[in-house]
Symmetry: C2
Subunit: 292 residues, 2 copies
């Protein structure tokens, strides 16, 4: 698999394994307009590209994406849709930039025609879909009990993530997801589709055998049922967002025992599920129940 | 058609025809959790309900929605998907609260089986779809040339909309769309799905014969291709958002001659299409090109 860019220097500069590259001219486009004073201005807007995914000879879906890391997106999408099973050996991931197609080839072929018919709608932008057996796997998932989230990590993470270079800061109108460990952001993906950003992280973890143990997921988007399902299927026990909750997101997080933290801004947050994993070690909260 | 609530008093209080009712206990649900100090708290989260739409005897789609105004949502969805044509006479709109089904019956029956196969993906949450012939209609649409947007209206609108009672202020994690005229918000709809909020406005306009002339649309969400397409098909020439732009949103807006205003906060904004409709009449910008 060739990636458009190898681990870029700017990611290393910010102590990230992989992060957004706001300087990549392929991801944003200059557009002319006017500002509130009527002055001619040029601004940058994020690009959107259709990317068609094939699993072996089967066309699976066409996604709208900003276009970075198509191979990770393809792998992560297939994995999170449960179309790649743990014992599936990935023979090849081929990206054709000319026609915007990614083909994932596995050692063992499977026919997904039937599976594609069993769509179930989920929440979020209210047009998301998951396949029937994703929910079966969700129900069987067990998240590690020993994982913890220190409030000092949480505050350091949100502080650091907000200051990382991003397409969001450059162009806006984009969602971000960050794979973290303790107080450190590791992999930061952005996309016009919130689910794509998560899928790209899943794809990276799959391709580079990154273990889920000890990981924390951060998203800029709302805590919807689909975000919760993906996090649980990735076997990550803690999901943080600066946005709010939906009822189904909370309900599914409680079913799975996921620690669900929303409205995380500055030194404030709200936990609506799995709060027993939180350790209040920040000096601001010495009198809190889990204080150390 | 019976609506769950008639024009509520709170809407009239805020000079709206129809607006969100944060007091409606059906739309949010109390959830217990903890805050950043570890204290037990109760907060409210928005509900999500599956709503299945039928057009005559044909099942069309299942949407995830907060659940208010199911009849307007059904009508607006069908209209914006071009499944209801201008000459279609709506015989009945029936909502069954027990099974969460809305059936729209037209005088003339049509078979939409074939149409349902012709899905085209659009931007936004990257899983949106429109039907093939929606784009044909989009290409033929002509927006009125004589519409204007005064900056004084724009600033008054964003100021007023931000202060209207909303589920966003109560529970967060929700999108809003507002139909406006000059400096006045008229109809304010919210939903977990951004597109649902627009569709509910379309449905209201269709049901109550509200003309598009002189109207302005405001959305809290990003200015994606799907938002632009819906606004153009509604024949509304001005779309405003406090969020940012995507490349396809800008491109389609320019094709259709739609005035596209993003990042509208306070007395700042950016216009990337159709800026000739803007009149700079706010005292802050007396030296601007279109100043009056």
């Amino acid at each position: 698999m060739t990636d458009r860019r190898k681990t870029p220097d700017h990611a290393a500069q910010h102590d990230l394994i992989l992060g957004p590259d706001p300087e990549d001219r392929w991801l944003t486009r200059p557009v002319e307009g006017i500002d509130h004073t009527g002055k001619r201005i040029e601004t940058r807007v994020v690009t959107e590209r259709a990317l068609t995914l094939y699993l072996n000879s089967q066309e699976i879906v066409t996604l709208m994406t900003i276009g970075d890391h198509p191979e990770y997106l393809a792998l992560g999408y297939l994995k999170n849709q449960n179309m790649l099973l743990p014992d599936d050996e990935i023979a090849e991931v081929e990206y054709d930039e000319e026609v915007n197609v990614v083909v994932v080839r596995t050692a063992r072929e499977t026919d997904y025609e039937e599976k594609l018919k069993k769509k179930v709608r989920t929440s979020g932008c209210a047009v998301g879909t998951v396949f029937g057996d994703v929910m079966e796997h969700f129900e069987k998932a067990t998240l590690p009990d020993d994982a913890v989230l220190r409030t000092s990590w949480l505050y350091a993470l949100t502080h650091r993530i907000n200051r990382l270079p991003s397409l969001y800061l450059t162009a806006g109108a984009i969602h971000g997801t960050v794979l973290c460990e303790t107080d450190r952001p590791l992999i930061f993906m952005e996309d016009v589709g919130r689910h794509n950003a998560v899928d790209k992280i899943t794809g990276y973890m799959l391709r580079h055998d990154i273990p889920a143990a000890g990981k924390i997921l951060y998203t800029t988007g709302r805590l919807t049922s689909e975000m919760v399902i993906k996090t649980v299927l990735m076997n990550i026990p803690i999901l943080i967002s600066r946005s709010g909750f939906t009822a189904w997101g909370v309900e599914l997080a409680r079913l799975a025992g996921l620690t669900l933290i929303g409205r995380a801004r500055g030194k404030r947050f709200m936990a609506l599920s799995g709060e027993e994993r939180i350790i209040f070690d920040d000096e601001a909260h010495e009198d809190a129940p889990g204080a150390v």
